[in-house]
Symmetry: C2
């Protein structure tokens, strides 16, 4: 009797364990000890407080602190990580640990496995998770459907005189009613986001502390990102970029809206963004280098004479797209210096956006799966600069 892997996930989890074991062999590691929530969710189908050991031979052991009532041949309850080495009976020669976890935690784990050599398990898990299984793709696809459905409410929840933050709160409400789980998983400790952002007018040009094309000043210096209370008025564009985590696996999607007339430059930049997405969607396939897609985007922007506004104005982002799955910032990275090469099963969010001073942000963001022969768009809804009022 085992209940640690959720019902219906058994085959999938077995397949993931095999993938991790394979990655360990490729990295020359004998085992990995997983303790970060995103990786725990990946390798068990649930989040626990504890550790999962996967060996290069594909053996798996769960060392659980909480919750109570989990069972299985490979489930053992522990109070502290020091018990793990003891329970294993032997220490792996080379043990991968998640170097994205805290220094305090990793130092403690290293001390608990005397004599072992340690390698970076975060990098190993990141490379495994960059290639989605059909099961994962289906969860992302389902998020995409709900994500688009929620966005379709935007013209209906908007009313004249609203501020950006009021529109954002109503969209958050809509997303949650439609089943969005709310939590926005981000790898690393530097970025903090709530449910995503709505940027109206010139607030898009307020630089963020993150590597974002557009920031927004936020409502408080403690969370200096996103809506800042701007009243939405004619002549402004509004960029909506909210989290689509409906299934534990998320899509990333942005759509832009306009109020009244916003001028030729904004309209042209928006069309350029859509064009870049379409070009990349037609070009991307297994074997294509991420940086070549960035070059394609930049060439299209240069040809349109829009480089000053591309990926930010006062402050520019260093990428035009990123992998997405359990977390919003997975591999591959679509930046000029990226060494990533696309493979089947990658899921990428592509966000070639522009900030037009005095008007606001324009452009779109879609999430695409890399298929055997090309791409599949997972965030399907109209891409034009939609009239909000």
């Amino acid at each position: 009797m085992s209940n640690i892997v959720p019902k219906g996930w058994e085959k999938e989890i077995a397949q993931r364990e095999t993938r991790v074991a394979e990655a360990l062999r490729q990295a020359g590691a004998d085992a990995i000890l997983i303790s970060g929530n995103a990786n725990l969710y990946y390798i068990t189908g649930r989040v626990i407080a504890g550790y999962v050991l996967v060996t290069a031979q594909g053996e798996v052991k769960h060392f659980v602190r909480r919750p109570v009532e989990l069972e299985g041949d490979n489930v053992a309850y522990i109070r502290k990580p020091e018990q793990i080495a003891e329970m294993l009976g032997s220490v792996p020669g080379t043990l991968a640990l998640e170097y994205d976890m805290s220094y305090a935690d990793i130092m403690r784990l290293q001390a608990a496995f005397p004599g072992a050599k340690f390698v970076n398990g975060s990098a190993i898990m990141r490379s495994v998770r960059a290639v989605k299984t059909p099961f994962e793709l289906d969860l992302i696809r389902r998020s995409g459907v709900s994500h688009a459905m929620s966005y379709k409410s935007i013209p209906h929840i908007f009313s004249e005189g609203m501020s950006d933050v009021e529109l954002q709160v109503e969209l958050e409400h809509r997303l949650r009613l439609d089943g969005c789980l709310g939590l926005f998983r981000i790898s690393g400790q530097s970025m903090e986001l709530f449910m995503g952002n709505i940027l109206a007018g010139d607030n898009a040009d307020n630089p963020a502390p993150y590597d974002f094309a557009m920031g927004g000043a936020g409502m408080d210096k403690s969370i200096p990102i996103g809506a800042n209370g701007t009243i939405i008025k004619p002549g402004m564009t509004i960029m909506v970029d909210a989290c689509g985590n409906f299934t534990g696996y998320m899509t990333d999607m942005s759509r832009s809206y306009k109020v009244g007339e916003v001028g030729e430059l904004a309209e042209r930049a928006h069309r350029c963004s859509v064009e870049i997405c379409h070009k990349i969607a037609q070009t991307a396939r297994p074997g294509v280098a991420a940086k070549d897609l960035v070059a394609l985007a930049e060439a299209t922007v240069a040809e349109a004479g829009l480089a000053d506004y591309f990926m930010g104005h006062k402050q520019k982002a260093g990428f035009i797209g990123h992998g997405v799955g359990i977390e919003i910032n997975e591999l591959p990275v679509l930046s000029a210096r990226s060494k990533d090469v696309l493979v089947e099963g990658n899921v990428i969010a592509l966000e070639p956006k522009f900030v037009i001073p005095g008007v606001g942000a324009v452009g779109i963001e879609n999430t695409y799966a890399i298929t055997a022969t090309g791409t599949e768009c997972l965030t399907n809804m109209p891409e034009d600069l939609q009239q909000l009022m």
Copy 2:
């Protein structure tokens, strides 16, 4: 011309810098290099991508990667942390680094300061932040007022036939409309929460992966906490425990509700929780040991014969209260093994709760400031087990 510290925060930040310098001297450290968002917010009044160096002599330097456009005599832009030692000209003898930050980041910083001795800066900052300034207290007080105001909507947003998650989404909406910033800052990487939880009926007894008295199964295994879709029905209690981050500094508050009659045991346990809060509010003052307050709570519970249900039923939490401020889990900790002793300026959330099988969770949670002579409750609203329907 300096704009890195927000207007009106200059004196306050200077005072905090002095406190950190003092703590460094006490810890025998020459300087601390801060890079975690919560500590960056504490020491600058804003979140940046970068580092703030504070020396034991009270000198402060800001090394900023993003956002652009920050200025000041002590502001320098960097691309990478390796530039810091170079810009300083000399390496501090003993440098405190936040050991709660990732292993990868801390190893990189250690390599960038060759010859330095390193100590745990997270512990230093945690001890400084445990004692709030009057300025911080005021921000927490303001969160408490809004927090209570939002909770007062609960009977109005509830309607017959609602599920726990529907009530939760409506409360989240209310909180956001009332100015809640949404983001729920938690120290460490293990706990993931959205905006807090509503637990109805027996879902409260579903154990969480966290050290919580009550968990809830959640709507998805990827976020196994909180509401699980339970339809709220007569005979159930409903525990509301949502985040009160309205100012960057939060309050923690829970209230319980009942539908119809819920039985003598639940009513009695609820009254016991209120009694414990009042007893502790009357007992707590500077110099009192946290563990003595826990003993007081446990004695009250034992006398009432409610130990089986106290702080959880299937799974029990290891604490009855915790410090709160920028993050939800600050010092002091109110656990049986805590060595913390209360001082003026501590802000504690006290949550002596019960889980009654077949009924649900009861009890309250308040946030209190420790004053020179006692306590000040910062979450003021009726504490009885309120009738929802």
